[in-house]
């Protein structure tokens, strides 16, 4: 029986198993470990954005109190083998991964030298005394500078500052536009953002010289990828190299790449035969952790008088910063912008082209949503602009164009394939949840007593999650991100332990995976020990990113737990001398149905492993109580949602307040509603940040102007509204367990919803939001310009 047994744990708001330790201050974050002889690192970083290094003088630093050693790139030349973020993509140049700058620096904050000292205080004192002689080169402060005729080259060997190009085309775009009765379009700009996890990046490596073992504790989302990269860079077999991500204080993509400090920490632990640690501070995070969303999109949408979409074109320029990030490449985000631009809509013709341009800024890398917050901002603005041109309600405009239930699978203009997902269902659910009609009625009554203008903004989107091995998570990347391994065992004490390659950093995967296994195996979730975030757990793993872990690890958990269950049942059948079909497992008790014959997992394990003679001897091998299964969904599955935001804009102070926010999403079968809601809340908050507050700013010389949380504004509880989440389960996808990924969606939908809401509020002033974040300063300028334009118009008309 029991394959059909009703799940008890999946779908329930199970309290998280990781919480007690985190709530009691007993988590183990990378910086928490204390060992007496630890050496602390501090980096001498570049204050120049683009310069040649003429000389480095470390003598003073080396003689300072507590300093053990100082290293430059030249000192480590033999220990760090070069790697590059390779891709099979044409028109792509893979820059070399640089641990410490050799002859050139390419962004402010790039590491040049490193001090190892007895304490972090002393290491920082010494790092400040390292003298670097620079010869300044012309800074490429933005893509215009980098694309200008005769611009200096950031990477001379690349022969161009454009390091990746890609184009997608489908249908007869020119004809569609030629024949189209209506068009809207313009130049959209989204500014640079940074993940800003509250825990800064941190690495600690321990070397055991006796065995030649190196263990790297890393605040990373991707211990498996880092292990594989370090094995190559340090030329070590995986058996002597382990990467462990303990508790990790948020990542959002910022901890999903290989970093220079990580490589240096690992290399120095081996070189110095010591425990070596580096914990970044916030300035280092804001200037050296990967950044994102820095794109300009020129887009145009063609449609007919009934509001039906006919064609879409887009030219995207992505500012990818100084290096092509390892392993995702510089093409990751910009290509994703054009891949997802067509959105969840029926669109017969599309052409999207992108150029990834290198500049003197920190490298661009994955960030929650990867490009899609930009696509959704642009496409959802276009849809609203079209609706407004036709005098259609934005919701009605979407109703007419969202791919309908009977049209799946639907191939989007960029070639992406949407499997059945609740596009329309999510729209209608969000409309109902926020009382859209009521809001519109209230809005038409005019501004409130406080003079604030009310706006309502809708955004619908679709994303591909849980991507299998058919395509890599990054374009052309020769690394398989599409499989996940689970090894589950019942040990000789009767304990259940399941090991994975994923790495939870706030998602609660220790709980959700335990829930999945609990149901398959017939035990309580807290009886399942989940091992994750450790490259030694399974032979191959990558980590947690790209909304993959629930789908892939969840699938692997189901397969392996089912396999183990079968063996437990067979062992029990032998011990009970009963038919396997009559054996059932409930709450960790194995019993023969309808009898009083029962035993606990502990008793069964003892009989199996330790009590000689209880079972035929070959059974211990044939029914070994450990099962490993690999799950590969091959294709991904489509997660979709509609977000609706209600905002109040104060035309005097230029402040935008988000009053209300509703999300309706289809993430397939929900394992733990509390966790899913939480992911959406957090994602929306980051999307609101991207739309209204957060911006990494550089001046024309490439100096970062937002090096603290005073200047880089992360929204607090006072800026984030109450957020309602509605789960729509349309039809379960074909993934094992019926799960869809949902870690990023909150951020993806919010940029479009907020931009549309602010535009809607400013309708009386005839302002279209084309640039995010729409900070008070930008809004002030827009309102001033609108007033001037209105006056000119008035004058011209009279």
């Amino acid at each position: 029986m029991s394959e059909t047994q009703r799940p008890k744990s999946v779908g329930a708001r199970v309290q998280r198993l990781e919480d007690p330790r985190l709530l009691a201050g007993r988590g183990r974050f990378t910086d928490d470990h204390r060992a007496p002889d630890t050496l602390h690192l501090a980096f001498r970083r570049s204050e120049e954005a683009h310069a040649r290094i003429l000389a480095i003088d470390t003598a003073t630093a080396a003689a300072m109190p507590g300093v053990v050693a100082v290293f430059t790139a030249a000192d480590l030349a033999g220990e760090i083998r070069p790697v590059r973020a390779e891709s099979r993509m044409r028109d792509y140049y893979a820059t070399e991964f640089v641990a410490l700058a050799t002859n050139k620096v390419r962004y402010v904050g790039e590491a040049i030298a490193v001090v190892a000292a007895e304490s972090r205080y002393l290491a920082e004192d010494a790092a400040a005394e390292i003298e670097v002689d620079f010869e300044s080169l012309p800074p490429l402060g933005d893509t215009d500078a980098a694309l200008a005729e005769g611009a200096a080259l950031l990477h001379e060997e690349a022969a161009s500052n454009v390091i990746a190009r890609r184009e997608f085309a489908r249908g007869e775009v020119e004809e569609a536009f030629f024949a189209a009765p209506h068009r809207v379009g313009g130049r959209f700009r989204m500014h640079r953002k940074t993940p800003a996890a509250i825990e800064n990046r941190a690495y600690r490596a321990e070397f055991d010289p006796g065995r030649g073992h190196l263990t790297v504790h890393s605040a990373t989302q991707v211990p498996g990828l880092i292990r594989d990269a370090l094995a190559e860079i340090l030329d070590l077999p995986g058996s002597r190299l382990r990467v462990v991500a303990g508790d990790v204080g948020g990542g959002f993509g910022g901890k999903a790449s290989l970093y220079p400090e990580e490589v240096v920490v690992a290399a120095l632990a081996r070189r110095l035969e010591a425990t070596v640690k580096w914990t970044g501070d916030r300035l280092e995070d804001l200037t050296t952790t990967s950044q994102a969303f820095d794109e300009v999109v020129e887009a145009e949408l063609a449609f007919d008088g009934a509001g039906r979409l006919l064609g879409l074109t887009a030219e995207v320029v992505g500012d990818v910063g100084a290096y092509s990030i390892y392993p995702w490449t510089a093409s990751l985000e910009p290509v994703q912008v054009i891949s997802f631009l067509p959105g969840p809509y029926r669109l017969p013709a599309y052409r999207g082209a992108v150029r990834a341009v290198a500049t003197n800024k920190p490298p661009m890398g994955p960030y929650r949503g990867v490009g899609r917050p930009v696509s959704v901002f642009v496409m959802e603005r276009l849809i609203d602009m079209a609706a407004s041109k036709l005098g259609l309600d934005p919701v009605e405009m979407r109703r007419r164009n969202l791919v309908a239930a009977d049209e799946f699978p639907y191939r989007a203009g960029s070639g992406l394939m949407w499997d059945r997902s609740g596009f329309h269902e999510c729209l209608e659910a969000a409309v109902a949840e926020i009382d859209y009609a009521g809001r519109r009625a209230a809005q038409s009554a005019g501004p409130g007593a406080d003079g604030r203008l009310i706006g309502i903004g809708v955004a619908s989107y679709a994303e591909l999650t849980g991507i299998g091995s058919r395509i890599s998570a990054a374009p052309g990347m020769p690394i398989n991100t599409g499989t996940e391994t689970a090894t589950i065992q019942l040990d000789s004490t009767g304990a259940v332990r399941a090991a994975f390659g994923i790495a939870s950093h706030g998602q609660g995967l220790e709980t959700t995976l335990a829930q999945v296994i609990a149901d398959e195996l017939g035990v309580a979730p807290d009886a399942v020990e989940i091992v994750q975030g450790d490259s030694a757990a399974v032979p191959h793993g990558t980590g947690t990113y790209a909304s993959r872990s629930t789908v892939l690890a969840g699938g692997a958990a189901i397969l392996s737990a089912r396999g183990l269950r079968e063996r437990i049942v067979q062992v029990a059948a032998l011990l009970f001398e009963a038919a396997a079909d009559d054996v059932e497992i409930t709450d960790g008790i194995v019993a023969v149905a309808g009898t009083d014959r029962r035993m606990s997992f502990r008793e069964l394990a003892k009989a199996f492993y330790s009590e000689m003679g209880r079972l035929p001897r070959e059974v211990r091998d044939e029914l070994a109580l450990e099962v490993t299964r690999v799950y590969d969904p091959f294709f991904g599955t489509t997660t979709s949602a509609t977000h609706i935001a209600v905002v109040a804009v104060d035309p005097e102070t230029c402040e935008v307040e988000v009053l209300d926010y509703a999300v309706a999403e289809d993430c397939g079968r929900v394992i733990n509603p509390a966790i899913v809601d939480g992911q959406v809340h957090g994602g929306v908050a980051q999307g609101i940040g991207a739309a209204l507050f957060e911006e990494v700013r550089h001046d024309a010389d490439g100096q970062c102007l937002t090096g603290s949380f005073v200047d880089y504004v992360v929204p607090s509880a006072a800026e984030i509204p109450a957020i309602s989440v509605t789960h729509v389960e349309s039809v379960l996808p074909a993934t094992e367990g019926g799960f869809r990924g949902m870690g990023e969606g909150g951020t993806i939908g919010a940029t479009g919803a907020i931009a549309n809401a602010v535009t809607d509020a400013l309708r009386p002033l005839d302002i279209d939001i084309m640039e995010l974040p729409v900070t008070p300063e930008r809004l002030f300028r827009l309102i001033q310009n609108a007033k001037i334009n209105a006056k000119t118009k008035e004058r011209d008309e009279t």
Binding site: P20, V248, D281, R282, G506, G678, A717, I723
Partner: protein, 161 residues
Amino acid sequence: MSGRHTITVTVNGRAYTREVAPRLLLADFLREELGLTGTHVGCEHGICGACTVLIDGDSARSCLTLAVQCDGAEVGTIEGLGRVADLGRLQQAFREHHALQCGFCTAGMLITVTDLLAKYPLASEADIREGLSGNLCRCTGYENIVRAVQDLVAAREADPA
């Protein structure tokens, strides 16, 4: 910078005497000297609130406080709110409401909430959000933290102990 000071600080009811450099931050004193790593550091410039502790009953940024300033003071940290096996009331409310994800901001949040509950009426959701606005959380979108605090406020009314 030289010269060390002998200080005695009471943390979660236990007195510790240590010799420290004058520039040692309270956050580093707790984490490095006492091994109380529940208090986290997120920015070292007073904005994120992750490092919030109680000093003589008031919430304070341990990243902006020198250890020597706390000589003779009573300091309260997350470790004093309850144990893994016996979570305190605030910790339980956070767990029930799923008010934490990565748990990195949580120590500071819990201390701030301790302070808020002790001092303010927190009559409206807006008041609660205002009270929490000195603590950044990047994971939760604050929704469930606000719900947990609302619950604690209600419990306080019912049982003002």
